[in-house]
């Protein structure tokens, strides 16, 4: 607020008669504020008057639906808050002495206590009506306490308010907007090197200290029986090593650190006990030695996904028919990818479609003379069949397997079918065979690590890099066993990546990792109101991300380029959308960028759209996406019983801008721990509207918890590159490993992730090397059969 004093006549508008009457009757507290501001000539306050009065009257009208007594409470509360704001302002501006301020504050707090009690009484009446017993008990308990201890309550409220003012004053110097000058985009964090963690000096003994602490302070709610909030620490403690539940324990450490657990109404552990628990968790989780839990895991049999089926058919018959688009949906598995084996169910509905598809695909090929002759070849029919079976089964068929297909052919011939017809019948049979539809690996021993067999390895590699079936070349190399040496493999991978089929890595791996494959099918603009949002534009948005990530793999670019690049892939429609000139044609093409508005994933419309609400941006969603999806360091879920920040709800807090709203998060200790990480990242992207359109004149600065300050996407990118590359590197490895293996990662896979990360870190985690490291990794090259599982108890008796 400025401090320029203006002549009385130009102060905000004078209250209308009915407004004054309304205030006198319903909100004398606000009227007093306005009168004082007029008397003392505070133009800044008078400017706000109109807005205040309007808001109050709206609130009155709205709340009256629940009775006038209720509306009076609501309006009274708002007026009280306005008065508090006014008081704070006077103190900041030096218009009131601290002692005078404090006594006025007390009066306001007494008034507030009455209002709060009134609200509780009303809520109690409602809770009784609705039979909400838990809520009722809680409300009664609180009300009773406040009624008995009203002086203490007012004391605490007053002290709390003063503390908040102090803290805000402290933070103001940190205010990012003040700290970063116009034109500047990045200020590194202050050089404040903490050599030692506060935890290092803490000694603990699990049996002596930790067990007792958890028993006393946590098990009341988080034992097996109660498991409040679905958190059962008693059971989790038995699951050793604790890294099995890494995120759960990280979350516990965070809660203990922030002090929001145990909740305030429960007995509290001492500071030293908190430190002991944290030090113990740091030892068990952060410094866990993963080399002690080496395990390749198991790649179970799975069917082809829709995407894999489409590509496999394309590569088998040479026509891109996409029959699987009619198949039942593949739900996204627990690995985050559709190829996660444990969610690839196979039901009658699938076999129905496989049969229809087999018929249709082969008939389509027959209608295309070129494709048909490719399939049939020049040699005898037997040869064509042998070749097809080998490709379809991804290995040479056994004698028996071949004869099944041959018999089918012979029977059809005997029934009077032409040679071509009989061939077609046999091809169709192959396409519904379990050998084709299921990927089942051979061999292996329980509890013993053996190399994956060569043909199975070829299949693993092929579905990893191409999401499709191995070609003739790959099968012949598999036959020689050469794929199993590291150098040969490296050359082979280079060749496979150079093949256009490797674009599947961009389309499926990147699309499903980042969620951008949802743009179009699931995330779209209503086409009637937004005629610009065409199918082709949304396809270009998806492709931009897919081609970009693919290009990084081909070029062996360091992962930092995911954050920031000087080029991207556009076609004319997307370029127009980005207001970039000089791009023509529908084909995606590499475009060098002249400004830093685009380039890097964070400038991709696809990413920006999947991190927005349909019609507005959300710094929280975007910030969370950066932390969780991009960096793999998800913030813990919000603590239980956090009220939603109300924007225009009943107990209106007159929160006006988005930033103010979110700052309320950070004022609350419960929320601050995470939101101070989340929100600034999201604000850095505010220059992009909800579908990624560029916009100026927005609030786009932020401060990271480490003190680094940035402005806009350009500054955010620098901040991420300077501080989060290791997190990003590990995350890409983790995601690529889960995709490559086609299973969700288990706790022991972290050992491989760390190994690869250590190897790739010096070069900045180059992405083609990363592909090779994964293809060479222990779980990718090794097979160990799991111990047979005990059958679970049946549910019905």
């Amino acid at each position: 607020m400025g401090s320029l004093l203006l002549p009385t006549t130009t102060f905000g508008r004078i209250l209308e008669k009915d407004e004054a009457a309304f205030l006198r009757q319903r909100a004398p507290r606000l009227l007093a504020v306005i009168e004082e501001a007029q008397r003392e000539q505070y133009p800044e306050i008078l400017e706000e008057t109109g807005h205040w009065v309007e808001t109050l009257r709206e609130e009155w009208e709205e709340a009256r639906g629940d009775g006038e007594a209720w509306a009076e409470l609501m309006v009274g509360q708002m007026a009280n808050e306005a008065a508090l704001e006014f008081l704070t302002w006077k103190l900041e501006e030096g218009k009131i002495r601290k002692s005078a301020m404090e006594s006025q504050l007390r009066i306001l707090m007494e008034e507030q206590l009455d209002i709060i009690n009134g609200i509780d009484r009303q809520e109690i009446a409602w809770a009784m009506e609705e039979g909400e017993d838990d809520k009722l008990a809680e409300l009664l308990e609180e009300l009773e306490w406040r009624s008995k201890n009203s002086k203490r309550a007012v004391d605490e409220m007053t002290a709390g308010f003063l503390r908040r003012i102090e803290r805000d004053k402290g933070q103001e110097n940190n205010d990012p907007a003040d700290g970063i000058a116009e034109g500047e985009i990045y200020i590194p964090p202050p050089k404040e090197v903490k050599d030692k963690s506060v935890l290092d000096g803490v000694k603990y003994d699990y049996g002596r200290h930790i067990a007792a602490t958890l028993q006393t302070y946590c098990f009341d709610c988080h034992d097996k029986e109660t498991a409040k909030g679905d958190l059962d620490l008693e059971t989790a403690l038995t699951e050793r090593p604790l890294v099995r539940n890494r995120l759960l324990w990280k979350n516990v450490a965070e809660r203990v650190k922030n002090g929001d657990m145990p909740p305030a109404k429960k007995p509290q552990p001492g500071q030293h006990q908190r430190l002991q628990v944290r030090a113990w968790l740091a030892e068990e989780i952060d410094r866990f030695d993963y080399s002690t839990v080496r395990n390749p895991g198991y790649l179970p049999a799975r069917r082809l996904t829709r995407e894999e089926y489409n590509r496999t058919i394309r590569d088998l018959v040479g026509l891109d028919l996409r029959p699987a688009d009619q198949f039942p949906m593949d739900f996204s598995g627990t690995s985050g990818f559709s190829n996660s084996a444990n969610t690839l169910f196979l039901a009658t509905a699938h076999l129905d479609r496989y049969m229809t598809s087999a018929e249709w695909v082969i008939d389509m090929v027959r209608k295309d003379p070129k494709a048909w002759s490719r399939l049939v070849g020049n040699g005898p029919s037997e040869q064509a069949l042998r070749r097809f079976v080998r490709r379809a089964y991804r290995r040479p068929p056994s004698k028996q397997e071949l004869s099944e297909v041959m018999t089918r052919f012979a029977v059809a011939r005997k029934d009077g079918h032409s040679e071509q017809n009989a061939l077609a019948q046999a091809f169709k049979l192959v396409l519904i065979s379990p050998h084709f539809l299921l990927r089942v690996e051979q061999g292996g021993e329980t509890g013993k690590d053996l190399p994956v067999r060569p043909y199975d390895y070829a299949t693993r590699l092929s579905y990893f890099l191409w999401a499709s079936t191995p070609d003739e070349k790959l099968l012949s190399v598999a036959a020689t066993g050469k794929l199993l040496s590291r150098e040969d493999r490296s050359n082979f991978i280079d060749a496979m990546l150079a093949d256009p089929r490797s674009r599947a890595l961009g389309e499926i791996f990147a699309g499903e990792w980042l969620g951008t494959h949802n743009v179009g099918p699931r995330i779209r603009k209503d086409p009637i109101d937004n005629p610009w949002c065409t199918e082709s534009l949304m396809a270009a948005m998806r492709n931009e991300t897919a081609w970009f990530v693919h290009s990084l793999i081909l070029e062996n670019a360091p992962v930092a380029r995911l954050i920031d690049a000087k080029y991207t892939f556009l076609n004319s429609e997307l370029a127009r959308f980005y207001r970039i000139s000089g791009v023509s044609g529908d084909e995606m093409q590499r475009v060098e960028l002249k400004t830093n508005q685009r380039g890097g994933l964070l400038g991709n419309a696809s990413v920006l759209a999947v991190t927005s609400f349909p019609n507005r941006t959300s710094p929280v969603v975007r910030g969370t996406w950066i932390l969780s999806t991009l960096l793999g360091t998800p913030p813990p879920p919000p603590p239980p019983d956090v009220p939603e920040i109300e924007v225009e709800g009943r107990s209106k807090k007159a929160v006006r801008t988005l930033r103010q709203k979110l700052e309320r998060h950070r004022e609350s200790k419960k929320c601050a721990g995470c939101h101070s990480q989340i929100d600034p990242l999201g604000f850095g992207l505010e220059n992009y509207a909800e579908f990624g359109q560029w916009r100026d004149g927005v609030d786009n600065h932020g401060t990271l918890p480490n003190g680094a300050k940035f402005r806009g996407p350009a500054g955010l990118k620098i901040a991420l590159k300077k501080t989060r590359i290791d997190a990003l590197g590990s995350q890409v490895i983790r995601k690529m490993l889960a995709y490559g293996l086609g299973r969700q990662l288990e706790y022991y896979d972290e050992s491989v992730v760390r190994e690869i990360a250590a190897k790739l870190k010096p070069a900045g985690y180059p992405m083609r090397d990363m592909v090779k490291e994964i293809a060479n990794s222990y779980p990718f090259t090794t097979r160990r059969l799991p111990a047979p599982q005990k059958p679970k108890a049946p549910v019905k008796s």
Partner: protein, 445 residues
């Protein structure tokens, strides 16, 4: 790609590509199959997002709980009230909400996301497996095609579970369902000998595979067997259809694809379900009228705006919560609640349509299919704003073949587990189950 054009030469369907028939001509006694004669049918109809508190309570309940008048939001069901049991106080003690609640609505278990485990098979699948030999399709799982960002979520889309970690796949395309019910084996390449062959192949494969992979291969094996059985049935069915002109004239395949009119779509699905029950194709069916946390727009209802899930959070009318689409806002809480109720009422109207169909259709002995059916209809959430798990909106329609006293309001003790209702259903399907999930005794109906 277009719909494979010549599937009919593969497995030929019946009739031209027209909309489904009106069923009146089928309703006369004697058209039903022998197999369907007197068996009880079980259906579960699920809708997401709950119902506003109070909207499930009848306006007037007479002596001993007789339903005398429903409330305005349930008005579409007024004409069927003598066939209904409206329940209160039911809940799912171990899973609730949009994801877990949907996935465990019929299993009575808790949901473990990482293991993708719902605690046990769902009640409909237990019934289906138990009765597998008694009808060509053990069960029929239907769902409308999803809309919005939760349409890819596994837990929100899976209601029926064949095993505790294997959901049943749901059909969303009317024509595909029709073909499943009424097409017959034809001169395409799939016939018994082909199926035998792939069956042999999969058994070979299973012998060579690891024990851990056995389950996946079993999934394939089971599917082949199911199709084999269906083809057999289809042969019989087609002979019957050929002999019955009422059927050949009226049973028409639905058009390909999904109707753009949502009401037409839902009614086609319900018609297919009614046909399946009537024809004896199956005795167990489930239909997800929508998936958990559906964000579908019901703008086609006068005065309704915003997505269904946003409407269900009716106590916040600001239009600016995390659930809102950013453009829609409401004048006040009451308006929003009314719109939420309108969407619920629309679903009730579809149920009423379905019950009407089942009433028209008669078994061979002249008893209506409705009297032989047990239709459980409801949601896994009570009031959508609170995500409540207690006092779920659930009702039961149909006479259960004379085993259910209908036309009353059922008020068991507070927090009665839905598992007890499931157990009651199982017993009426003549499944000798003594327990389901934690329930030891069946709910009295």
């Amino acid at each position: 790609m277009t719909e494979p054009a010549n599937r009919r030469s593969f497995l030929r369907g019946i009739g031209a590509c027209l909309a489904l028939p009106s069923l009146e001509s089928l309703a006369k006694p004697g058209s039903g199959t022998q197999a369907a004669k007197s068996h009880t049918r079980l259906a579960y109809l699920y809708f997401p997002n709950g119902t506003a508190r109070g909207s499930w309570v009848p306006r007037k309940v007479g002596k001993s709980g007789k339903l005398e008048q429903l409330n305005e939001w349930m008005a579409p069901l007024e004409e069927h009230k003598s066939s209904l049991v409206i329940t209160s106080n039911l809940w799912t003690p171990r899973g609730n909400g949009h994801g877990a609640g949907t996935a465990t609505w019929l299993t009575g278990g808790a949901y473990n996301r990482r293991q993708n485990d719902v605690g046990g098979p769902s009640v409909d699948q237990i019934a289906a497996q138990y009765l597998a030999d008694k009808s060509p399709l053990p069960s029929l799982e239907l769902s409308t095609s999803g809309e919005g960002s939760f349409s890819g979520s596994l837990s929100r889309n899976c209601l029926s579970w064949r095993k505790r970690n294997v959901p049943a796949v749901r059909e969303t395309i009317p024509r595909a369902i029709f073909d499943k019910l009424f097409r017959r084996a034809q001169e395409g390449f799939v016939n018994t000998s082909v199926l035998d062959l792939v069956l042999t192949q999969s058994m070979d494969l299973k012998r060579r595979a690891s024990a851990a992979d056995g389950q996946k291969i079993d999934e394939y094996l089971d599917s082949v067997r199911a199709i084999e059985k269906r083809l057999e049935f289809a042969e019989r069915q087609s002979r019957r259809v050929a002999a019955d002109h009422a059927l050949t004239d009226t049973l028409k395949r639905p058009k390909p694809g999904i109707p753009t009119n949502h009401e037409e779509y839902v009614r086609q699905m319900l018609d297919l379900m009614a046909l399946a029950f009537w024809s004896g194709s199956t005795r167990v069916s489930t239909f997800m009228l929508d998936h958990g946390q559906s964000n579908r727009y019901f703008n086609f209802l006068p005065g309704v705006k915003g997505t269904w899930h946003a409407l269900s959070h009716w106590k916040d009318a600001s239009g600016r919560t995390e659930d809102d689409d950013g453009t829609t806002k409401w004048n006040d809480v009451r308006t929003k609640k009314d719109q939420y109720n309108e969407v619920t009422r629309w679903h009730h109207a579809q149920l009423a349509f379905f019950l009407g169909r089942l009433k028209q259709l008669k078994d061979a002995d002249g008893v209506s299919v409705l009297d032989r059916s047990m239709i459980v209809y409801g949601s896994s959430i009570a009031d959508g704003h609170e995500h409540e798990e207690q006092d779920l909106p659930v009702l039961l329609a149909g006479g259960g073949n004379g085993t259910i006293k209908t036309g009353h309001y059922l008020k068991p003790r507070h927090n009665t587990s839905m598992s007890r209702l499931h157990l009651a259903m199982m017993q009426r399907m003549e499944i000798p189950a003594r327990r389901f999930a934690e329930a030891q005794d069946a709910l009295e109906l």
